[in-house]
């Protein structure tokens, strides 16, 4: 009975979503206050019912209700309760429900924190979010219902994909979805602006904090996913360019461009059309990503073929959303010529160039990700291009962005002063060269490491120089407004990230070894003594656990316990053991026994020494923090638009 209540809640949510999607937009169009007023209550109501459906599904998992097919497929009696909760989004149906749930979190937040915006505008924004909700709720109800019963009820269920049975994975999908789905708000703002017209650029200021927060969540989700892959997959990689990662990375790249474009449009009124287009792209890529990953179009041909309704619905939905919004854009886009004119050497130009690099990178990732599908459709063969393609092109596209980055804050709006730029560039370049020379000592002539240090110091020193400049030139209290502090944090994050990537990629040492108990192997200045394998077990798995003593200069630093787990349904999963440090990770993964019948004998082990690898995620966290901090800017929460847009003509008063 209770699962049916969940389904009923979804139906009611769908009806409310239709009301939320249609009535307020009609009201805003006809200037009907009663219809406009429907927006907030409808959003709240939809939120309540989607929350109820979510709660019912969680309850079904917690109470082992195997009569629900989705529960039976993704959990069993041995699964601990916390993984039963996360199993809610462990497969397709539940992920879609999570998507709608988070969409409603955003809608309700928007309804609550938009009192300072014109009612008609909020009505349109909530209306667009309602329409997106209609699309997803209908998809869930008609093709991917998590509440379907399975009769007769099985005595025990299947298992949650063991890949997902990890503390890192418990919060990774919700955080990632906060980012994905958060771009729907920027999208809704743009559509509302296109529908309404004639509002100047005020709406961009209102949209900015939402975009920043969504992007920051997306950053956090990607960092968590990358960290998880590093810790779990057992061979020390942290980014694989696989479709699941790319699906979140494409909206992230476009999001970077969007955040910067919004700053230009808000402050200078330039590039409004470009800002709108980017927000359409960011959300379209989020949608595409959700479906690519979850429908299994890319990972398995059979997933699509087994249920063509899903595939057709997804294609139709994508075409309606992307095609419809582009059509609206074509009809209603603002005249591109608005905004203050800017010189070739100006912050606007700098941001535009960076924007082009980031959108090109996103297009490049999109092409590579869809390559098997394109090859299939055009009969060129269904082939993967993989890291050789992505790695090469991405570095080519991002190198100029890194080179340009420190100039950003120094560029004035409208027209920049060349002398300031050269003095900054000179100082940052000297710092970069000195550090690169110092780096040659430990880099042992590896060019990539030296280039990495130079690039990271270039970005870091350039950013630091600007921090100092502000400190000297501005009065206390006005030096680092939230928006600027966010920018500085995020740019510092780029420097840290760069250092981590280049140093860990070029200086890491790995050894594939066969060790019998008692044998020792050295990697760099560390030596590893294999002390055999013991059996251990958890709630729903048993494992062979290696004991590896890590030593340096004759002293034992730590003992690591890499595992090879076998879950109750037979899936095998490695658990690497990591001794983490700010400047290096020691990483051990357990391979296979050399003789399958003798687990007490020799084993294959992978040993890694990875310098600076932690800086990769540390840099990501700085970027995330930058997004959140910038969103706290007081100006974004102003009750009304400041009359004097001219306040932004002096560059020092207008951080970006």
């Amino acid at each position: 009975m209770i699962p049916e209540l969940g389904q009923f809640a979804l139906v009611l949510a769908l009806l409310l979503a239709i009301a939320q999607g249609v009535l307020p937009i009609v009201g805003a169009w006809r200037n009907n206050a009663a219809l406009i007023a429907v927006a907030r209550p409808a959003a709240a109501g939809q939120g309540v019912f989607v929350f109820a459906a979510m709660a019912v599904l969680v309850y079904a998992f917690l109470s082992f209700d195997f009569s629900v097919a989705y529960v039976a497929d993704n959990s069993n009696l041995a699964l601990p309760w916390y993984y039963r909760v996360t199993a809610v989004w462990g497969a397709h149906e539940g992920s879609m429900l999570l998507w709608v749930f988070i969409l409603n979190v955003w809608s309700v937040a928007l309804a609550a924190f938009s009192r300072h915006l014109p009612d008609a505008f909020v009505a349109r924004v909530l209306g667009v979010l309602g329409l997106i909700g209609v699309g997803f709720l209908a998809f869930i109800l008609f093709t991917s219902n998590p509440f379907l019963r399975e009769l007769p009820m099985p005595a025990d269920g299947g298992d949650l994909n063991p890949v997902l049975q990890d503390p890192g994975m418990t919060f990774h999908p919700p955080v990632l979805y906060m980012g994905y789905v958060g771009f729907s708000v920027a999208f809704a703002f743009s559509i509302a602006a296109l529908l309404g017209g004639g509002m100047e650029q005020a709406w961009v200021r209102w949209a900015r904090p939402w975009t920043n927060v969504a992007w920051a969540f997306l950053t956090m989700g990607i960092v968590a996913g990358s960290w998880w892959a590093y810790a779990e997959l057992g061979w020390g990689g942290w980014w694989f360019w696989d479709p699941v990662e790319n699906a979140s990375f494409m909206p992230w790249l476009v999001g970077v461009a969007l955040i910067h474009a919004q700053a230009v449009t808000e402050k200078r009124g330039s590039l409004p059309a470009w800002t709108i287009l980017l927000s359409l792209f960011a959300f379209s890529l989020s949608l595409l990503g959700t479906f690519l990953v979850r429908s299994g179009v890319l990972t398995s041909v059979h997933a699509f073929a087994s249920d063509p309704r899903r595939g057709l619905y997804i294609l139709g939905f994508l075409i309606v959303v992307i095609g419809g919004s582009l059509l609206l854009y074509a009809i209603r886009a603002p005249k591109v010529a608005t905004g203050k004119p800017f010189a070739p050497l100006s912050r606007e130009t700098g941001i535009m160039v960076a924007n082009l690099l980031f959108t090109t990178a996103a297009a490049m990732v999109l092409l590579g990700t869809l390559f098997p599908l394109i090859g299939d459709a055009l009969n060129l063969g269904r082939i993967s291009v993989g890291p050789p393609y992505f790695g090469f092109l991405f570095v080519m596209l991002m190198a100029p962005a890194v080179l340009l980055l420190p100039f950003g804050p120094y560029l004035r709006w409208g027209r920049a002063d060349g002398r300031q730029l050269t003095s900054m560039a000179l100082r940052a370049a000297i710092a970069a060269v000195i550090c690169a020379i110092a780096a040659t000592i430990f880099a042992e002539g590896r060019l990539r490491a030296i280039a990495g240090v130079a690039g990271a110091v270039w970005v870091g020193a350039g950013t630091l120089a600007y921090v100092v400049k502000r400190w000297n030139e501005m009065p206390r209290g006005r030096r680092y407004p939230a928006e600027m502090a966010g920018m500085l944090l995020a740019h510092t994050g780029v420097a840290i990230f760069l250092m981590g990537v280049m140093l860990s990629e070029s200086l890491s040492v790995e050894r594939d070894v066969r060790l019998a108990p008692g044998q020792t192997e050295s990697v760099g200045s560390y030596s590893f003594r294999f002390d055999g394998v013991e059996e251990t077990s958890g709630p729903n798995w048993r494992a062979d656990e290696g004991i590896v003593a890590v030593m340096r200069d004759g002293k034992t630093l730590t003992t690591l316990h890499p595992q090879k787990r076998t879950y109750s349904r037979g899936q095998v999963q490695t658990e690497s053991a990591i001794d983490a440090g700010l400047f290096r990770d020691i990483y051990v993964a357990l391979g296979e026994p050399m003789d399958a019948t003798d687990v007490r004998g020799a084993w294959a082990l992978r040993l890694y020494h990875k310098p600076f690898v932690r800086w990769i995620w540390l840099g990501g966290l700085f970027m995330m923090l930058g997004g959140f901090v910038a969103a706290a800017e007081r100006r974004f929460r102003a009750k009304k638009v400041p009359a004097a847009e001219t306040a932004t003509t002096t560059p020092e008063a207008s951080p970006a």
């Binding site: 299939d376 890291p387 992978r606």
Partner: protein, 180 residues
């Protein structure tokens, strides 16, 4: 007018995909002949995966036909092809030589441990230089090379049961007729 460009681009893209799918359902196209077919395979000399001391070159494989299967741990389509390699391709009487393309050896080893190893020997082309000579730009691809070192057949994309029965078995039969 430029406002319409994004829409036009999108419509063209959808049209291209739609046309491609329609065209493929209407036409049973055979693989476009590779310029390498019936030409001698490029000479190569590559280290054996996880056994850096050993190398395998073209000359050492002459004498009997073999398949050269391009795979990598990053290649998603290879995962779909692999069960067929494990179950049927192994038993065709023609040895499978793995060509590990632009891959991390540790990742490749882990991948093979997970999915199984159907190969008699695996050569590693870490930089992808030999891949260029073979015209490989992605994975999976499969070459059938005869005893004289001539490429007789090439498949781009995963091998499917259809391809196995309609293309690969006939190609092997043709080799057998020539007495190879």
């Amino acid at each position: 007018m430029s406002r319409f460009l994004p829409l036009i681009g999108f419509v063209l893209l959808v049209g291209l995909f739609g046309f491609g799918i329609w065209w493929n359902t209407q036409h049973d196209q055979h693989e476009i002949a590779s310029p390498l077919i019936d030409k001698p395979a490029p000479a190569f000399s590559l280290p054996v995966l996880n056994d850096a001391g050993r190398t395998v070159d073209k000359a050492s494989l002459l004498g009997k036909p073999y398949f050269l299967n391009v795979f990598a741990s990053w290649c998603i389509e290879c995962v779909h092809e692999h069960p067929l390699l494990m179950s049927q391709m192994k038993d065709l009487g023609v040895p499978l030589v793995g060509f590990n393309y632009k891959d991390d050896p540790a990742a490749a080893t882990a991948w093979l441990a997970e999915h199984g190893n159907p190969f008699e020997v695996i050569v590693a082309d870490r930089e992808g230089r030999t891949g260029i000579d073979f015209g490989v730009y992605a994975a999976p691809e499969t070459f059938l090379i005869d005893g004289k070192g001539v490429i007789r057949y090439k498949r781009i994309g995963p091998i499917t049961p259809d391809v196995l029965d309609n293309e690969i078995r006939p190609a092997i039969a043709a080799l057998a007729k020539e007495g190879q």
